[in-house]
């Protein structure tokens, strides 16, 4: 049976994993929104900068990004602990993925909505934030749910910089006790979280479908 110490280690790991996922998705959504607006923008410079950002962060492995933030930035005088490094890398990465999702959702809203807003005298940003983006929420719920599940699982990659998250704690215990069952425990906890997220996002989707 599990000792109380082992249970605590597993739960602490699960807590870290959850924390990483939640923070990264929140920062990722904010970043993704600005990147998406940049990609829609007619300003060529802003547009290109956002395009390059997305191109880099979607085109290189997340593990590499995590390693760069943690090991390469100190060479330029930026020293970060493992936890903030992990959050930054995960957020920067999910922002790039979410940007394209958010851009597509915004552009799928009927053009008449922007025209009606302009005809009523609204500015571009008033129309965007009060009319267009709120309508894209419902379309965003499934892909954001997907991204969050990916993040939850990919957050295990931060064990590479020594962060004590769920998988790393399980691995440490498996090694020290020579019992692979700890991986099963970790798997069960991951499954529990992903199922919870799936359920939550299904609920959200239903709630936002009232007006369609």
């Amino acid at each position: 049976m599990l000792t109380s110490k082992q249970v605590i280690a597993l739960l602490q790991g699960a807590g870290s994993t959850l924390q990483l996922t939640l923070l990264a998705i929140v920062f990722g959504i904010v970043l993704g929104l600005f990147l998406a607006l940049g990609r829609i923008s007619r300003n060529k410079i802003i547009n290109t900068i956002c395009w390059i950002y997305i191109w880099i962060f979607r085109g290189t492995p997340l593990l590499l990004q995590i390693l760069v933030v943690y090991y390469a930035l100190p060479q330029y005088g930026i020293m970060l602990d493992a936890f903030p490094s992990a959050i930054i890398a995960l957020s920067l990465n999910s922002g790039a993925y979410l940007a394209e999702t958010i851009r597509a959702a915004i552009q799928s809203i009927d053009k008449g909505q922007m025209e009606a807003s302009k005809a009523l005298g609204m500015s571009y940003y008033q129309a965007m934030f009060k009319v267009i983006i709120p309508q894209s929420y419902r379309r965003l719920i499934p892909p954001v749910g997907n991204e969050m599940i990916m993040l939850l699982k990919d957050s295990s990659l931060v064990s590479a910089i020594g962060m004590a998250e769920l998988l790393r704690n399980a691995k440490v215990m498996a090694n020290s006790s020579a019992d692979a069952v700890f991986y099963v425990y970790a798997a069960v906890i991951y499954l529990f979280f992903t199922s919870l997220l799936t359920l939550m996002f299904q609920r959200l989707e239903k709630r936002y479908s009232i007006y369609e």
Binding site: D110, Q113, E115, A119, L120, G121, M122, S123, Y211
Partner: protein, 257 residues
């Protein structure tokens, strides 16, 4: 109130408006008719800056708001100024374009609160008054998707009126409606005209143009071909193209032939 001088508009190679001159005075109800592709809708959309003209001048209330030459806007008004002037023009679209995530009441109050910075209470009082006038007070808390097309269009009219515009533009307001719903929308528009609202109506409803219009403009291939008093126009169109166009209209045919 509106003066258009030599308006041209092209989309790439396609020239849609070819030299439109037009004066519109207070309380006129100008009905713009003509075959599809004749540039009627584009004309309205240029007026409230949804499209930018290729060349020409647009004056609204004596103020030059757009001046372009050879595809270049020569008058660099700040966006804020353009929005202000456009707010004097209420627009009703063929496909309503209500905001689906807002209730009927929110649809009507959102622009006055956001753009004119009206107080919420003030905006709501006026919105309720407007909804009453279009006969939809009891629907104020519904979402647009729960309304019929005719009801949605009446909400759209109320929404445009909420900005207290001086001029109302209607872009084929009944073309997307089932035939039995057309009447209720035209009724609201007629009431508006009787109250003295200045209106430009792009329409295929010849009956409305004849009964409510104070002037009919017949457009074809990007030009104003003929304009006249509606009664005279429908009884005795002068140009061959207007005769041919009216001849194809069911119900009008009997009178023109």
């Amino acid at each position: 109130m509106i003066k258009l001088k030599n308006i041209y508009k092209s989309f790439g190679q396609l020239e849609v408006l070819k030299g439109i001159d037009l004066d519109i005075h207070k309380s006129e109800v100008v009905c713009v008719i003509g075959p599809s592709g004749s540039g009627k809708s584009t004309l309205l959309r240029c007026l409230n800056q949804l499209e930018r003209i290729t060349s020409g001048d647009i004056y609204i209330n004596g103020e030059l708001i757009d001046h372009a030459e050879e595809g270049k806007n020569q008058l660099h008004l700040p966006q804020k100024k353009i929005s202000e002037v456009c707010a004097e023009l209420g627009m009703v679209f063929q496909r309503f374009n209500l905001f689906p995530h807002m209730t009927v009441l929110e649809n009507v109050t959102c622009a006055p609160v956001m753009v004119k910075k009206e107080g919420k209470k003030e905006a709501e009082d006026y919105a309720l008054d407007l909804l009453d006038r279009v006969g939809l007070l009891d629907k104020k808390d519904e979402y647009p998707s729960r309304l019929s097309g005719g009801q949605q269009q009446r909400v759209a009219i109320a929404r445009a009126l909420a900005m207290r515009p001086q001029i109302m533009l209607f872009d084929e307001p009944t073309s997307a409606l089932d035939p039995e719903l057309v009447g209720e929308v035209l009724e609201v528009m007629k009431k508006l005209a009787e109250e003295g609202m200045t209106m430009i109506v792009v329409t295929h409803e010849m009956g409305f143009a004849e009964e409510v219009g104070t002037r009919v403009i017949f457009m074809d291939e990007g030009k104003i071909v003929e304009q006249d008093d509606p009664k005279k126009f429908f009884a005795h169109p002068k140009t061959e193209r207007a005769k041919a166009f009216l001849g194809k209209m069911p119900g009008v045919y009997s009178r023109t032939s």
